[in-house]
């Protein structure tokens, strides 16, 4: 308590998904700890980390969850997606096959997450642009068609990693704000948009002890 990290107005859970080896774990560590590991080991089960950033005038604590891309290391489906308000679907721009399966990841995501989840398509490893197999325009168009945010990143040299996470957090934040307005119009007394029944997603949690910012 009391540390800057602990003062926040919202907690957003964001999940990372995508094929094995596309760089999910390094995106996580780059954003939350500014670290990159060339030989990061295969994720088994789940990993997670947080970082608190300012979005608009609110402190948002981003809880980033990372899971195994390899089918056999994941027993995790609904439990992993539960409560997630954002998702980064990551592929490797130098491996077309990791892009080909994005559709499958999206399907799993929509099968288990709230329909209102904010989704961003992320083409990672732009530092290896000379080995590019997925044209940026192609991925961008795909994202537009599906109504996803899109960005290309490099966890290795940090390009766009901040931007990617900040963009999705901002988008989630606006969605929450809008929802709050709607719920106040409909005469709901409290700000407790925490889990307004089953219709709306659990967009934000608010810890009473942290209200006084």
């Amino acid at each position: 308590m009391g540390s800057a990290e602990e003062d926040y107005n919202f907690v957003f859970k964001v999940v990372l998904i995508g094929d094995s080896g596309v760089g999910k774990t390094n995106l996580l560590s780059r954003f939350t700890r500014n670290e990159f590991n060339h030989d990061s080991r295969t994720t088994i089960g789940v990993e997670f980390s947080t970082r608190t950033i300012l979005v608009g005038d609110a402190m948002v604590k981003a809880q980033i969850w990372d899971t195994a891309g390899l089918e056999r290391y994941r027993a995790i489906t609904s439990a992993y997606y539960r409560g997630a308000v954002g998702a980064l679907v990551v592929f490797d721009i130098t491996k077309h096959q990791t892009y080909d399966v994005v559709d499958r990841w999206l399907k799993e995501l929509y099968d288990h997450a709230e329909a209102s989840i904010v989704v961003m398509l992320v083409g990672n490893k732009t530092d290896l642009a000379q080995a590019r197999e997925v044209p940026m325009e192609e991925a961008k168009m795909f994202a537009d068609n599906k109504g996803l945010l899109f960005v290309e990143t490099s966890a290795l040299d940090s390009t766009n990693v901040e931007e990617a996470f900040k963009t999705i957090l901002k988008e989630i934040f606006y969605k929450v704000q809008k929802q709050k307005q709607r719920s106040s119009q409909s005469n709901t007394v409290s700000l407790a948009s925490e889990s307004p029944a089953s219709t709306a997603p659990a967009q934000a949690e608010r810890r009473p002890c942290c209200v006084a910012l």
Binding site: S20, D39, S40, I44, V46, L70, A75
Partner: protein, 281 residues
Amino acid sequence: RLEEVPLEVLRQRESKWLDMLNNWDKWMAKKHKKIRLRCQKGIPPSLRGRAWQYLSGSKVKLEQNMGKFDELDLLTGDPKWLDVIERDLHRQFPFHEMFVSRGGHGYVELLCVQPSAAMDGLGTVSSMGPSSALIRCRGLAALAWHWRLIPGLGYSLGYSSLSLQEAIQLDGQILFSLLHKVSPVAYKHLSKQKIDPILYMTEWFMCAFSRTLPWSSVLRVWDMFFCEGVKIIFRVGLVLLKHTLGSSDKLKSCQGQYETMERLRSLSPKIMQEAFLVQEV
């Protein structure tokens, strides 16, 4: 911190183990309890590789299947599996010399064995990941884990009709209901937070704690595991849960789901220390 075994004790243990290994069938038939006790005390490092082979039964399997490895080795693996293994293998033990270079010693052997095993209907072989690599590092024959250790570790024993995913979920549920008895406080807390067991036990079980515990504790746990089987994995899991979330005092600092997960992620070194852990198991 390593538990120091006095040199004389170690020598005594070594000679006891040599005697057991030399008369293995007799010991297994008549004095299994004693073997179990000695496994609990820790197998002397110099004999550990051999002992694990005997305990797991891989030695027998190895002899029964002479030449099988070479035979399988000649087969070409399913490209799908080869690709997965290729992408994955060097990342399992990034710092181990055997896997540092592609084409290195351990790398080639694992690459040879894994696809053949996969083709052999032991699809779960790759799920062993770090554990199988660990066994390789301990100098056991490739066949050892291929034929015996994989079923023991890799969720096919008794679960042959289940996918790995289903098996781990089932184990998660079993672990959780055992926790109800062992530590009602921890059980209640995890239930209240709606933390699905697979969120914390997947890595524990899939890797038989090789990624969780300090190395000296991994070896001790495995000594018992090879002797007594999968129940050891459950017990270790229960000890960790109980000593992490088992009292209202401990729960004060992990009120939220995320905080609880974080606590389970960074376990206290004290409870993972070999002397403490083994005694609790």
